[in-house]
Each structure stands twice: as C-alpha cells, then as structure tokens.
C-alpha cells in the first residue's frame, strides 16, 4: 500500500472493484468506463453499479455488442492520453477483440518507438465452476501469455482487487484485468480510500518451509485451504499468490522455491501451454540444483468446459487436486 494505514471494512470483491473504479473516476478526469450494460444497469456482475448515476453517460459509456470497437476505442483514446477502462462481459469474448489487444494495444508503444502509450485497462470476468458452459467459463491467461507488451493482472481477494485495479488504472501499460467469477462474492477486510497494490509483485499469502504452491485467482484460496490441511499432516506449505501474471514476479517465486525445494503451480486453465507451463519451466531452469523433486502442475484437463456441473467438476482443478499435488511433491523428493 502506498498510503498510510486506512480504516478497513468487510467488503466483497465486487464492491472493492466498484470502489476502485469510483475512486479512479474521481481522481482521474481522463478516465472513462466503456462496455456493454455498464451504465444504468451497472454491469452484468454489478461491478460498475451507481457509477453511471454519479459520473454520467459520457464517462460511463454503454456500447453495442462490438467488442473489437470497444477495445479499439480504448486504444485510440489511450493514445491521446485518456485512461479508458473497458469491461468485456465474459473473458471468453476476448476472441472478438484479440487482434485489438495483441496487435494494437500491446504494440503501439513499441512499434512507434515510444511516441504513444496505451494506458488502458480491460476488465473481464473469467473462470468456471457455475455451469456457464464452454463459452462462459474459460480461463484466458494462456491466450495472452506469449504477447509482449500486455500486462495481465489476476487478483485473488478483495483487498488486492481494489489496490491492483487502481494500480492498473495508473499504469501506462495496457492491462488485462482478470476477475474470477467465483471470487465476486468473497468478502474480506478492505481499506477505505485510495491505495494501490503494485503491479508485477507477488504476495506470500502464507509462509511455509516444505513446499511452495504458486497460485492465481481462485486457486489461491484453494491453495490456502490445502495448505491448512497439509499443516495437519505436518507439511508446511508456502503459498505464493502471483497477482500479476505478466510480467510475473520471478524473484518472489524463485526465492520461495529455493528455500522450500519443492513446488506446485496451480492454475485453472488447461495444462498444455498454460501459465503453469511457464512457471514450471522457469522454476526448474532457475532452481534446478535446489529442487528436491520435479515441479507439480495442477490445472484443468485438456478440454473445453462442459455445461453439466458434474462434468465441469471433472475438468476443473480444486482443493483436492492441490492437496494431492502437495503430497506428490513431498513424495517425489
């Protein structure tokens, strides 16, 4: 936190994001919100509630179903110094504006050699677990991991959500801000007022000495629960919450693994070519001699996400999978 201690109050993830947007809109006259049904309706998940009434339709801008135009508008506005924050209703729809993100937002700063910046934020609801089916449940960080120029932020709790969103709004780089749908209702103590949580820095969510679990978003509370369980079995688990996925905080992650000698990386997306691949590779490459055994990946099965809830449970990883991975990490070493 960049400012002095604040009063805290129990706040939901959704409300924490809403507060961040409100504080940002208040502080930055160049900021505006844009997306489908974010105005009077307050957004599909309620994250922009009341902001339309407070800031008006010019700055809280409802759009048609034109995802490419939404992101293009953000890039253009950002190129001339505005601070647009877009909402793409479901992360699954980022395919509609993939070009705008990858070839435009992520590259204008570089290809014109610094003459433009693209200080925009794309907020989007991701993740499964609620019977949303194949087009409303995906974890999309893997789609963007190989794209230099983009920042990917992925909070796991309300406190970080607020601080990271404000840091994203302040960021001169384009940010893809992932909001896991299963976290929206989670409540925690969130400081009042304006504060930022720095981008590119992981947090040690729990200290431990036997094995490091590196996790993101909904995998973090699951990892913490698994850690609690493991503690009962005498295994001390350190949980690293990555918070920013790209560029990620290798130092904290590698430092932890060097100490524990064992690592689990947990992520909701399919295994092959996902975030877990990058983290596992990096840990192995840089902690090779410290590792007591191979890194264990926890992730979704290599399949789309089915509608039927019991089938969805087969595909998505959970606390049990993390517990099993912790055991494997202990056994293999």
């Amino acid at each position: 936190m960049t400012e002095t201690e604040k009063k805290v109050r129990k706040t939901s993830f959704t409300k924490a994001l809403n507060d961040a947007l409100d504080l940002g809109m208040d502080r930055f006259p160049e900021m505006f919100l844009i997306g489908e049904d974010i105005g009077e309706m307050g957004g599909d998940f309620g994250v922009t509630k009341k902001l339309w009434a407070k800031y008006g339709g010019e700055r809280v801008r409802d759009t048609p179903l034109s995802e490419a135009a939404i992101i293009g508008t953000c890039v253009g506005a950002a190129m001339v110094g505005m601070r647009p924050v877009a909402e793409i209703m479901f992360a699954d729809f980022l395919g509609e504006c993939y070009d705008q993100i990858v070839n435009n937002a992520a590259k204008v700063h570089y290809m014109f050699d610094g003459q433009f910046t693209a200080p925009l934020v794309i907020r989007t609801a991701c993740g499964g677990g609620f019977g949303g089916g194949p087009h409303h449940s995906q974890s999309v960080e893997g789609w963007f991991m190989n794209v230099p120029g983009i920042v990917i932020v992925a909070p796991s709790n309300p406190t970080d959500a607020k601080g990271l969103l404000l840091a994203s709004i302040e960021s001169e780089d384009p940010v893809l801000f992932l909001e896991h749908k299963a976290l929206y209702r989670v409540r925690a103590e969130v400081p009042d007022g304006y504060y930022t949580t720095p981008l590119g820095q992981a947090a040690v969510a729990r200290e431990g000495s036997d094995v490091t679990v590196v996790a993101t978003m909904r995998m973090v509370p699951m990892a913490l629960a698994a850690a609690e369980q493991a503690a009962a079995d005498g295994i001390s688990v350190e949980v690293v919450d990555l918070r920013t996925i790209r560029p990620y905080d290798a130092e904290t992650m590698l430092g932890s693994v060097s100490r524990t000698g064992r690592a689990v990386v947990a992520n909701e997306a399919p295994r092959i070519g996902g975030l877990g691949a990058e983290l596992s590779a990096r840990i192995h490459e840089e902690c090779f001699s410290d590792l007591l055994g191979p890194v264990v990946r926890v992730d979704g099965l290599d399949a789309p996400i089915p509608f039927s809830v019991p089938l969805e449970h087969v595909i998505l990883p959970d606390e049990t999978d993390i517990s099993a991975a912790i055991r494997t990490a202990m056994e293999k070493s």
Partner: protein
C-alpha cells in the same frame, strides 16, 4: 391462413410458452444450472420458423431459442424432451448435457446449435450455406440473431459474403427492442435493423414478429426465395421479450402493457381463431395439452441420470484421447 395451419401454430406457440414457463420455474427452484434466457413473448417468431424449416435445412438458434429447438426436435425426431434434458445437464440431453441452454444442437433435425459468443454463427452459417450451394442441394441455412447481436462486425462480413456469393442464407433478426439493457435505437444507427441490411442488395423485410400470420407468410416468402436459388434474404421480426432480468427494470410501463397485453402473440391468435369459429374450450384444451407435454418433459429431464463422468473428456479431438490429470 387456414384454420388448421393456424391451430397448429397456436399449439406450437403454447408449446414454447409452456416450455419456457416450466423452465423458468425449475430454474428458480435451482434445478437448472447456469444462466437462463427465455423466448417468452417471442413465440410467434419461433413457431413460424419451426413450421417452415425442414430437417434438411439448418438453423442456428440463439439463447432464447429453446422453443424452436424443442419444436424441431419434436417434429423431426419425436423426442422434444431431449432439449429439456439438455438444459438440465443430463445424459439424455441432445448433447449429453455438455452444451446446455446455450449449446443445444441436433443436426438430424436441422439444429446446428447456439454459439454463446453472440453473433459468431453469422459467419458459420455461410459455410453451411456454401456447402448446400456447392452440392446443389436446395437447403436453407438460417441464422437467428437478436437486435443486439447486429452490433458485431460479423454482421457485415456475413451479409457481404452471402451477397457476393448469393448464398442460401435466411437472416432471421429477432428485434425485441433491447440487448440486455441497451435499447435498439441507442445501440444502432437505426432502430430498424433492415436499414443496416439494405446496402447489401438482397431482399430485406420488416415484419410484425408477434403476428403469427404475418410472420409465417413473410418467412415463407423468404424461404421460397432462398430455396429457389435466388440468394440470401433478411427478415427483421419486431417483437418484445417478457424476461425482465436486467432489462426489465428499464422499460417504461406503457411499453410493457402494449406488448404483454395488447400485442401478445398468443392472445392475438386467440382473437383470430375465435373469429375463425374456434371455441374457448377448444383453445384451452390446446394450452392444457401443451402444458401437460412440457410437464412430462420436465419430469423426464429431472429423472434422467447425470452424464457419465467419462463424457467430460470425450470428443475433445476425434483422433486423440484426452486423459485425466
């Protein structure tokens, strides 16, 4: 329209309404997972399409199309209950529960499934139509799209390509006035979607989507045109959706009254049928029969088993097996 046809459509509209109302009830009771969008209020559009599309045609339903899905399934395959079961995520569903409300398909009845990325099938429909054309088959490929979905860039790519290649595509644009909370006239350069479609040079027709006679006739003309090899056709069906989720709160009372009371597609048909000599009792019986069938479907869906867990990793690839973690 003759009385028999109209009675058939009346029955079909009741099938849709009963389906959606039953579903809504089950959803509220927590028996239907995921999200729910219903076609309540839009029954005429779907009944008119379902009545005229053949099993060898193709339609891409949208998120409010349980009704047309069920009618097609019932008519061409005799097992409408499998659409209901799909929405419950059951093994007996048309996609074994893997698709759900937003992805129910059965090619055997011409149902090519929704794509929950709204509008993406405006591109897909081109391929089905092109295949028909290349094979010399007289099939119609129909994309059912909402007014909001017209915002997507694929709208332009699709209409343009259908035009230059003279593809057998029926665009059935269900203009119910809103995209979630966005009024059609605010989200588009024109509240009349045909205005955006006319530039492509093929026939565009605006229809009262709650008037089953007009719907049926105009869609019939469009289908005949397409089937005869004369290329694409755009029909805008002006209607209104009952479902209040999100958008409900923003709609003026007078508008609600007009559409729900004065211009309800079923009530309008009742008036017509009475005029053709039907009795209230006769019409009530049709409603009750539809409700009875739907109740059976719901029972079937509820009592059906959940899919075998092995289904979770089935059919990712044709040529490769996906195995557990």
């Amino acid at each position: 329209m003759d009385k028999t046809t109209m009675l058939g459509l009346y029955r079909d509209m009741w099938m849709i309404r009963a389906f959606e109302q039953g579903l809504e009830r089950e959803f509220e009771q927590g028996n239907v997972p995921g999200m729910l969008h219903t076609g309540l209020g839009q029954e005429a559009t779907q009944a008119a399409l379902a009545d005229q599309l053949l099993a060898t045609d193709c339609f891409f339903p949208d998120h409010r199309c349980h009704g047309i899905n069920a009618l097609a399934q019932q008519r061409h395959s005799g097992d409408g209950e499998r659409i209901m079961a799909e929405l419950f995520g059951k093994a007996t569903g048309v996609c074994s529960g893997k698709g759900g409300s937003l992805h129910s398909a059965d090619p055997a009845v011409g149902n090519f499934g929704d794509n929950a990325v709204e509008g993406s099938y405006m591109a897909t429909v081109l391929g089905v139509a092109l295949a028909s054309k290349l094979r010399g088959e007289p099939n119609v490929a129909c994309a059912i799209i909402g007014d909001g979905t017209v915002g997507r860039g694929e709208f332009h790519e699709s209409l343009n390509m259908a035009a230059i290649w003279q593809l057998p595509v029926l665009y059935a644009c269900v203009n119910n006035g809103y995209a979630i909370s966005m009024p059609v006239g605010q989200g588009h350069a024109s509240a009349d979607i045909v205005d955006l479609a006319r530039g492509y040079g093929f026939p565009c027709e605006q229809v009262d989507g709650n008037d089953i006679v007009e719907c049926h006739e105009k869609i019939g003309v469009a289908i005949a045109h397409i089937r005869a090899g004369h290329g694409p056709y755009f029909v805008e069906l002006k209607t209104w959706r009952w479902q209040g989720i999100f958008a409900g709160e923003f709609r003026p009372d007078a508008e609600v009254k007009y559409w729900r009371e004065d211009h309800d597609p079923i009530l309008m048909t009742v008036d017509r049928l009475i005029g053709l000599g039907c009795t209230s009792a006769e019409l009530d019986a049709i409603e009750q029969e539809a409700r009875g069938v739907i109740d059976e479907w719901i029972t079937f869906a509820k009592e059906s088993p959940a899919p075998d867990l092995a289904k979770a990793t089935a059919n990712v690839y044709v040529n490769w097996e996906v195995t557990g973690a």
